[in-house]
Symmetry: C2
Subunit: 258 residues, 2 copies
């Protein structure tokens, strides 16, 4: 028995999320089908975490056990030729049998993208939230700082979260701006990429953080409100859940495997 670990990118637009669905239209379903076509084995894959419908991944990680003898360097090409064009594996390694994509993960990074130009970018319209209104990006950056550290993130979790503990650690959170496509003489404010790295994330956590941050950017909330929202442990105090299409699972890090 071998344990194969892979990195996968996907455009989540046309899928019902990562986790297997009765309609077979989840990313997991297509990956398992491709592995079955290749090896003749009905394996169950385990990812670092689920992503919701419409959420994308640049560096999602999953593993599975197999008796197949296909050398690791062949897996990517072999699977990609059996996958839809918007799902693509980019790395394969053989890992110790006790490696687990979710349990062994040390840090995860998500990116949420807001396009604050007057017009959406046609070519990225499925991977950005369009918000043409004025945003105070400095206030947004300031508000973000309150998230760093170990907190109870109940205010930033879906009410349907079933996790026994809502305590998580955020290691880093920052904004990167891309103003390369701003048209001179307009109110274009460029792309705002919000990167957040932590030891784990609750359901909708990054999207609620993005939605709350937008309120700060609009001036409806103050940067320091983020601290009191955290303290309240009350989902009602935070902003709305931002649309899934702006979210991408960027990277997952492991102790001895990156």
């Amino acid at each position: 028995m071998r344990n194969i670990c892979m990195k996968v990118s996907y455009d989540g637009t046309n899928y019902s999320g990562f986790q297997t669905q009765p309609d077979g239209n989840a990313i997991q379903d297509y990956l398992e089908k491709a592995i079955d076509m290749l090896t003749g084995e009905k394996v169950k894959i385990h990812a670092s975490g689920r992503t919701d419908a419409g959420v994308h991944a640049y560096g999602q990680v999953f593993h599975f056990h197999t008796t197949s003898k296909i050398p690791v360097e062949r897996w990517c090409m072999a699977l990609n030729s059996r996958l839809p064009r918007d799902i693509m594996v980019t790395e394969a390694r053989e890992v110790p049998l006790d490696f687990h994509s979710r349990r062994s993960a040390k840090r995860k990074t998500y990116r949420y993208t807001i396009n604050a130009n007057q017009f959406p970018d046609l070519f990225r319209r499925n991977t950005e939230l369009h918000h043409p209104g004025k945003l105070n990006v400095e206030a947004m950056s300031e508000g973000l700082k309150y998230l760093i550290g170990t907190h109870d993130f109940t205010s930033f979790a879906s009410r349907h979260s079933t996790k026994p503990s809502h305590i998580r650690t955020v290691y880093d959170v920052h904004i990167e701006r891309d103003q390369s496509m701003c048209r001179p003489g307009t109110r274009d404010q460029g792309l705002i990429h919000l990167y957040i790295t932590g030891n784990g994330f609750l359901q909708h956590m990054v999207r609620i953080i993005a939605g709350t941050l937008l309120e700060v950017g609009k001036g409806r909330k103050k940067p320091e409100d983020i601290a009191s929202i955290l303290e309240a442990k009350d989902r009602m105090k935070a902003g709305p859940t931002a649309e899934s299409k702006g979210l991408i699972l960027w990277n997952v890090e492991y102790e001895n495997f990156n």
Copy 2:
């Protein structure tokens, strides 16, 4: 009678090119339909030039004559709400009646994008040519220089070109590299954006230039071969026509209107 000039972006993936088609699936058809829905007038729009099926535009320009009294600042929103999501007008102006999008154009810029990473970028797969093999980008840049100036571009034009003269002037041509998505420790070479600005372009000209440049990058042709290919005035001497999806009409410039 008024002359309205607009800028339009489109993702050409799902269309049969700019110019009106019997099946009604050209960009022009959708724009004219939207104007008809808005004004009740069956206008004919004139663009700065056609783009082929699968070719995109960031800053295509077109104009049309209308008796509609809608103020210019309302046109963009009004048309965009009547256009498919992958066609978007981003600017509208009233121009002198003798302004013509094609005849008045002074300079046009196209961009051709080659992704030279090991894997295609899922999120840009419709707007880049994927070429994972080793490319000598310095040789490509050197080869490009021979195109600058006024030349007979017969070698770089479709055999079906019906233009009486193949003499065009290339003002600027350069490569911009984007290595932000290269994964360390891999043979990823990043994105290669080829920008070319001229007073006009022949059918397939930029795509044949891109295809020939790829031959230079692969070492099958030398940079200085570009000079002798130009001189030969023979389409057979140049490289293949590169795929349409990597091409985008970037910008069109006018004397008193940019």
